[in-house]
């Protein structure tokens, strides 16, 4: 099954919108034990909680899903499970997440004029009657807003969308997946794509360019989060195909101070998995390991723009 560009497939775009609206509805997809909250809100909380877990707690950089090797596999896992819920909401076993090719928009004279932000696409989510933010960061955890508020965006007020050349540069130059000390100071593809290293600050810069809720630890409050990370995942897949012999690191023999990030470590999860997802289990989208099945496999409509 194919993950497609959201701007080139109107049917998938509409399915994505319909699906996230369904998952956001507590009456249709309730978060068990959290009255008035939905499965969508659970994904927001899951992302936030992963960020609050320093791995290990003796340092203040790497957390369970960011600033470390697990950044890419953890988000692939997160997207796979969100995609599964969307399939349930849509009743469509063939549905796959679309991606936002933000490098294409970076080439526009004004990226804010991209069709992505129109009322028939992702622009609709800033309408207060359509979408409300319910879960936001607190000083020491998460807060439920007793009066949910509209989604906040500030497109283009900070940051910049990464260009195609910038993405191609890291795909060409970064031949190792990651490197010690496996944090935000590391060399390697993961850290350049995540955006702590390199002038383009690839992934991070998209969060900053969008502004508003996308800059918070609860950034999945904006459904564009999933389109953005789907594109990040596409870039990782292009890199894997370019360097098929470059292993995921660290291996399982690495010190346990790298727990949550080693090849066979359980990825931080709040779901009742039969088998815990690991980096190894998600390395190949066409041959996903347990807990995933053939029904979860996917590939991208194109990687050609990433191969120059």
């Amino acid at each position: 099954m194919i993950r497609r560009n959201i701007l080139s497939d109107g049917a998938v775009r509409q399915q994505f919108i319909d699906g996230v609206l369904a998952l956001k509805d507590p009456a249709r997809f309730p978060w068990p034990g959290q009255q008035g909250l939905s499965i969508y809100d659970l994904f927001v909380a899951w992302h936030h909680q992963s960020m609050m877990l320093f791995t290990p707690p003796t340092q203040r950089d790497r957390n369970a899903a960011h600033s470390g090797p697990a950044f890419l596999p953890w988000h692939r896992y997160f997207l796979l499970r969100f995609e599964g819920y969307l399939r349930s909401a849509l009743g469509d076993p063939d549905f796959r997440l679309p991606y936002w090719d933000w490098a294409a928009d970076a080439a526009l004279a004004d990226p804010r004029q991209s069709p992505l932000w129109t009322e028939t696409a992702m622009g609709r989510f800033t309408a207060p009657g359509t979408w409300q933010v319910r879960v936001v960061p607190a000083e020491r955890g998460l807060t439920r807003l007793s009066r949910p508020r509209p989604l906040d965006r500030a497109l283009g007020r900070g940051g910049a969308l990464p260009t195609r050349d910038a993405v191609r540069t890291i795909l060409r130059d970064q031949v190792l997946y990651d490197a010690p000390p496996y944090n935000s100071t590391s060399n390697g593809f993961r850290n350049y794509l995540e955006g702590w290293e390199g002038p383009a600050r690839i992934h991070n810069n998209v969060h900053v360019w969008m502004g508003g809720d996308m800059t918070d630890s609860t950034s999945p409050n904006d459904p564009v989060f999933f389109l953005h990370h789907c594109n990040v995942d596409r870039i990782w897949q292009a890199w894997r195909l370019r360097y098929p012999n470059a292993p995921y690191v660290p291996a399982q023999s690495a010190p346990n101070t790298l727990a949550f990030h080693r090849l066979d470590d359980a990825l931080y999860s709040v779901l009742r998995e039969a088998t815990q997802a690991t980096p190894r289990s998600v390395l190949d989208p066409l041959a996903l390991g347990p807990p995933f099945s053939a029904a979860d496999r996917y590939e991208y409509d194109t990687l050609a723009d990433l191969q120059a």
């Binding site: 701007l7 080139s8 109107g10 049917a11 775009r13 509409q14 399915q15 978060w31 068990p32 959290q34 009255q35 909250l37 499965i39 909680q49 960020m51 609050m52 320093f54 791995t55 707690p57 203040r60 950089d61 599964g84 399939r87 349930s88 849509l90 009743g91 469509d92 028939t120 960061p137 607190a138 000083e139 020491r140 955890g141 998460l142 807060t143 807003l145 007793s146 009066r147 900070g158 935000s184 100071t185 955006g195 702590w196 290293e197 600050r201 991070n204 810069n205 969060h207 900053v208 800059t215 918070d216 630890s217 950034s219 359980a266 999860s269 709040v270 779901l271 009742r272 998995e273 029904a295």
Partner: protein
């Protein structure tokens, strides 16, 4: 403020597919584990709480204290930075940390770094005003920060704190 760097075709018309009417079976989505990110001590699922107790029990208060260990020409440099920030006289921690380059960040807004604590606090006041609202006593005499019940909020101002230790 700046974005955090080193802590260092033509559009087709939408053609709506009918949803929910397909005959193929859809595998069940995976159910959530029991965890409550709004309740102190229950923020993570059991497998994390039991498997990594030291990871989940760190004191948030210590986050205002950052220690950087650097090396320069063979000398080990240790720099410890401690911030005490009060907003309207109330002590706040805000998860403030200092990266290797001496810039401030907070995982409340993880993609940004700030040159000064003033910039960071200003950003959070504008972006997350709920963090700075004084907690009001609930009918039971407790602060909102102790409340973990979310069904009714009529007596609350605009939010319910969660995760306080």
């Amino acid at each position: 403020m700046q974005d955090k760097t080193k802590r260092h075709g033509k559009q087709k018309a939408p053609a709506r597919r009918e949803t929910g009417s397909r005959r193929k079976s859809v595998p069940r989505a995976i159910a959530p584990l029991v965890f409550d990110p709004f309740k102190p001590g229950s923020e993570h699922p059991d497998w994390v709480m039991k498997g990594f107790p030291s990871y989940v029990e760190h004191a948030h208060e210590s986050l205002v204290r950052s220690t950087r260990v650097l090396e320069h020409r063979g000398s080990a440099i240790t720099i410890t930075t401690t911030y005490e920030v009060r907003v309207d006289e109330r002590l706040v921690t805000l998860h403030m940390m200092v990266d290797e380059e001496g810039r401030l960040w907070s995982h409340l807004c993880p993609y940004l770094t700030f040159a000064t604590a003033t910039e960071l606090v200003r950003h959070l006041i504008e972006r997350m005003p709920h963090l700075f609202e004084p907690a009001r006593p609930s009918p039971g005499g407790r602060e909102d920060g102790d409340s973990t019940h979310h069904g009714e909020h009529e007596h609350h101002p605009t939010h319910v704190h969660g995760g306080a230790r």
